[in-house]
């Protein structure tokens, strides 16, 4: 039996360094999370379909539910807990108030490296 202990340990050390190198390389370089900029229209409105915290956390599930309910069930109106009615539409309801897609949507998505394919088809009607 040969003694390969040093080789194995050296190999393991190299392996661990390689695997964790993205962490070392990016250490101290993390950018602060982007601050969301509310469009004037959204501020003027004063409310959203759900409270801010819920929107922050669950907007993707809500948009997923909206599109399924609209396209597959033909239900186009969302009624929130306050009884307010909204057209379930990304372009025509969300972006009606959040007119600044670049600052409101894209900024965070780019930061978090999330690439939703919404914009391949849906448009920001307010975009010039």
């Amino acid at each position: 039996m040969t003694n390969d202990k040093p080789k194995i340990i050296a190999g393991l050390v190299i392996f661990v360094i390689l695997v964790t190198c993205p962490m070392w390389i990016n250490m101290g370089k993390n950018k602060p999370a982007p601050k969301l900029e509310m469009a004037a229209e959204a501020q003027a409105k004063g409310y959203c379909v759900l409270p801010k915290a819920d929107m922050k956390e669950k907007h993707m599930q809500i948009l997923d539910g909206w599109r399924n309910s609209v396209v597959r069930s033909g239900q186009r109106v969302y009624v929130n807990d306050q009884g307010k009615r909204f057209d379930m539409s990304l372009s025509n309801t969300c972006l009606e108030c959040h007119t600044n897609k670049a600052e409101f949507c894209d900024k965070c998505h780019v930061y978090a490296s999330v690439n939703p394919y919404c914009w391949d088809c849906h448009v920001n009607p307010k975009e010039k």
């Binding site: 599109r67 396209v71 597959r72 239900q75 379930m88 372009s91 849906h122």
Partner: protein
């Protein structure tokens, strides 16, 4: 006895593991998330039907009206105008009589019918072959008879195009925004499509939902009538009772919901 108890414990153990895994699997399952029914509804003025259908009076169609209808539909739905003819996208378009009605084999028919420019579109079949062919259920039939596409789900396999006997479907071989002016949709209220999905007429589902008639019927100057086939009081039913109508390729059994009046005039 011992052997049986051993087996029983094994199965019980496996079941317990299975039960504990189920909620985890469920949470991560790729499923559809719908808004709870209590939180959704329709617009108050939405048009609700049991079987939407269309009657097209060919004798009232002219090339000018057809162009107007196609233009109205295609701009409302951001259907691109692409330079490459092979990439053409169509929702509603003009067709020669003999191409639209391949089952009509009579040699001698009135010139008015023979040369009339027929408008064709998705027939919203009662037995839609495209729905059966679609492997992802991206194309589905609604309860009101509309054969609709969920573009989010289309994987671009084009089985539906092979299945449709009417050529009602188009495939986006290139980015459809290439065929829009400044790559901007003419109707910003309606989405565009993306490269790699199939598209077709949606019987203006988005307009019916807000109480409007399909655009083609609205701008057709009376040549196209739209209504509920299951409502005996509807205009489509009264026209079908009065005028003899034909449908495209009836022998295939797809049961189109688009009916055509040929001849018109005295016999309309």
């Amino acid at each position: 006895m011992e052997e049986n108890r051993r087996k029983f414990l094994k199965v019980a153990g496996a079941s317990a593991v299975g039960l504990s895994v189920a909620p985890v699997m469920k949470a991560h399952a790729i499923g559809e998330y719908f808004m709870p029914a209590s939180q959704t509804g329709k617009h108050e003025n939405a048009l609700i039907g049991k079987h939407w259908a269309m009657v097209i009076d060919i004798s009232k169609l002219t090339e000018d009206i057809n162009e107007k209808i196609t233009e109205a539909c295609h701009s409302a739905h951001n259907v691109p105008e692409l330079e490459n003819k092979k990439h053409e996208i169509k929702w509603i378009w003009e067709e020669h009589f003999e191409h639209a009605f391949t089952d009509q084999r009579n040699s001698y028919i009135p010139d008015s019918a023979k040369h009339s420019p027929v408008l064709v579109l998705c027939n919203h079949c009662v037995n839609p072959p495209c729905v059966k062919a679609c492997p992802t259920k991206a194309t589905f039939k609604r309860d009101d008879g509309i054969v609709l596409m969920d573009f989010h789900r289309c994987i671009g396999c084009r089985f539906c195009m092979a299945a449709c006997p009417y050529g009602s479907r188009s495939f986006n071989l290139e980015d459809p925004r290439n065929g829009l002016e400044d790559r901007k949709p003419k109707n910003p209220q309606f989405p565009t499509r993306m490269k790699g999905v199939v598209e077709k007429c949606n019987f203006c589902a988005e307009r019916l939902a807000v109480g409007q008639m399909p655009l083609c019927a609205e701008v057709s100057e009376g040549a196209i009538v739209f209504g509920d086939l299951e409502d005996p009081e509807s205009e489509v039913r009264s026209i079908l009772a009065k005028s003899f109508t034909i449908r495209r390729k009836p022998a295939l059994g797809t049961e189109p919901s688009v009916y055509y009046i040929v001849g018109g005039g005295d016999h309309a």
